[in-house]
Symmetry: C2
Subunit: 239 residues, 2 copies
Amino acid sequence: MTIHNGRGRLYGLGIGPGDPELITLKALRLLQAAPVVAYPAPDTGDSLARAIVSPHLKGGQAEIAIRVPMVTARFPAQEVYDQAAEELGEHLEAGRDVAVLCEGDPFFYGSFMYLFGRMAERFQVEVVPGVSSLTACAATLGTALAARNDILTVLPAPLDAEVLKQRLQGVEAAAIIKVGRHFAKVKQVLDDLELSDRAHYIERATMETQRILPLDQVAEEGAPYFSMILIHRRGEAWT
Amino acid sequence: MTIHNGRGRLYGLGIGPGDPELITLKALRLLQAAPVVAYPAPDTGDSLARAIVSPHLKGGQAEIAIRVPMVTARFPAQEVYDQAAEELGEHLEAGRDVAVLCEGDPFFYGSFMYLFGRMAERFQVEVVPGVSSLTACAATLGTALAARNDILTVLPAPLDAEVLKQRLQGVEAAAIIKVGRHFAKVKQVLDDLELSDRAHYIERATMETQRILPLDQVAEEGAPYFSMILIHRRGEAWT
């Protein structure tokens, strides 16, 4: 382990899927102790990550919103992370710890890895795992994600319909994440594979705005980014 | 929602991967409030789940060890869960809440589903998601599990070598769980696919006995049940 005398430490804190009570004791402790708190935020408007932890903030911490354009690019502009790494790096150089808030878990399809990739060689970084949307959705739906020797496949909905179809063919257990505006495509794939009966749709799991809907009641263009479909071939037969 | 007047409520509490500080505020609150706490335990000896939460127990709670034979059968004898459901059901009928401790997350390859399947129709059941070993291993290794539109595949190591090989061929991101005594088989598959360079081995992540080892330093018959191998084709290039 390299010694980084006098430098601050960077924390990637998994803050869980949305319910402020689904943060871990460890993430809460590190969050409240850090002099600087950073979080992703949209171009304009409020940060969801900050909103999740807001009941736990006591004031007096410097805050850095990492404003990521969500709509224009398929993946966030890397310049945003170059700049954020520089800004956070200045605090670390000055000896101040920085806690970066990560919705769900930092390394489960999270944007923290862009900061990690830029900063882990220069600074001490600790990643604190969090409750991911994957397990939060299963818990809320009351349907097991995977059991015994099931193979579990996690598929991002932006993938092409043909790829989704190929990977869902004969699947045992699957989670389709980031459904959002790809809902109609995903629904068609599930219908084609006759998997719709086994599919469970949920949006914003554990948040106050959480909704569970039958697939045929989801407005085709209306699914939010934080929506997921879980599929299990055995259905509810867990005994 | 059915009304269950006067009955207790059953909680399946994800208590996280091993570090007692990786329990959520919600699971901790429900754990401490429940008059009855149940947990899986081996035939003889101590329960790992109970050990994980032991710093949080204040005494005065009834405890039920659900003793599951680990070695003899490939999957636990279902009679154990029939009997446990009956015992827990008596507490619930008498109006006492019961908190069942689940290592990691209750629905991510957990045994709680066997109780859920037996009890969810008769009693109110709430499942509280937890930090799974999946994200805990990635956080500890400092290697992202999945990013962007990666397909993530979770493979239980007890699967046949041919199945593992087929599913790992050309994989983007994979986690091989429950490695344990299947290590030699898994290692051979990874070697055959030339994936060993990209594979990260970790055992008992976030526990005091945690170890990270290069694949070729793991004793072939020595891996514990709580061991995992993470693979990502991109390696560490997350920028």
